[in-house]
Chain length 235, copies 2
Amino acid sequence: MNPLQFLSCEECTNRPKSLFSCLSAEEARQLDPIKTMRHFKRRELVFTSGKKPSGLFCMSSGYVKVFQTGLDGREQIVRLSGPGEILGYRALLSGEEYVSSAQVLQDSRMCFFDKWAFFQFMENKIHLMRRIMEWLCQDLRTAEERLRQLAQKPVRERLAETLLILGKTFGKSVKMGIKIEIRLTRQEIAELAGTVLETTVRHLSEFKRQKLIRFEGKCLILCDEAGLRKIARQN
Amino acid sequence: MNPLQFLSCEECTNRPKSLFSCLSAEEARQLDPIKTMRHFKRRELVFTSGKKPSGLFCMSSGYVKVFQTGLDGREQIVRLSGPGEILGYRALLSGEEYVSSAQVLQDSRMCFFDKWAFFQFMENKIHLMRRIMEWLCQDLRTAEERLRQLAQKPVRERLAETLLILGKTFGKSVKMGIKIEIRLTRQEIAELAGTVLETTVRHLSEFKRQKLIRFEGKCLILCDEAGLRKIARQN
DNA sequence: CGACTGGTTGAGTGGTCTCAAGTCCTGTGG
DNA sequence: CCACAGGACTTGAGACCACTCAACCAGTCG
């Protein structure tokens, strides 16, 4: 590995918002010897459903989608992850196989921590375990809320809500709206909202006609957040 | 409290399958002074969405449903819990309000652990924290699988799957099938499967005509598990 | 240039929801 | 004991939303 490319966990810009924010500088440095840097290109799979995890990924840059595949081949995106986020910790902690797969949306750099080395590191670090528990709780909460959303809301509302979540999580304020930085296909938006491609296209064009959203090149921009929120019947 | 009614956590018959199975006899006894026994009648609410948790419930007997209410008043059951299971730990651990409510389906007895006393107890008990993490992982996994199920499967399949899950979790083998011990209304089955009452009734009668299920009094019995599994397109 | 990927639109259909009427069951009070 | 109220359950009819299938367009890349 090129030492110039190597970045200590201690100095990582993502650390404040990452799982490792709870570590002391000294502890963070202890992570360095057990990690390796990995690069993934768009479309590459980070891990696949059914496989046993051999370690933990901490995203340095880029974006990935975590999804499950149904019997008919239809995919459901469980969540999107970006810099500072952890990949595959659910399966690792529970000692099971991955139930989801993870695919890279934008060229990504990740730190990989070997399973056993990480477990050893975690041993006796109560603050880290607490923090992991918090993340699990958070993920569980989100999952349960999406559960209701999927069960009760019609596609149109779900789609509006999906856009809002995208804006909140990956959006940057630009003039006249919120720009969603990740490049997502309609298909992927559909998989997030739990519907099919064509329905998504139809509703998106409707939203566009209503000036709720617009496109700049490949990028999606939310122009009228309040309007979308009204459709999503949030708040 | 009547000492005759008091049962030490150490000797609790639910302990082997509970969160506290990882505790030593000595540790389990330490739980006794910080718990109080509570009784709930059918229909009673154990906690409600929006409130801050003041402690943790461990179910001794009975069954509860944990659900979320949508804007239109429609309810979505997140999970059912029975003896040995923990209620409200997600909100407690993350220090948030409850996002769900819990209602008693069958008269229940629960042990209640005060929030601070429990946190103090958990402090430095790495094995307990590990175990909690495992449960969180498990719940997260189930939630994510249901996510896909809800997003992708039509109601008929979801309903069949719901029945199978009920059978697996709360069913007892009887002659000619699996008897589901909990008394659930059609409305509640609908809320589990993420649909409405009428649709549930229609499909259930269809299942009955096809001799996949039958009713004995109020109880639901699964006669043809393989048939249901085929409809649910499991495996 | 053709192949390919991503996006768009149309037509048709079927599943699910809604509204509405009615039945069955159970518990309650006269 | 019966009458009755209310809840749970059942069934029907109609509307509509979302899915499927299919054709087609617009870039992009080799």
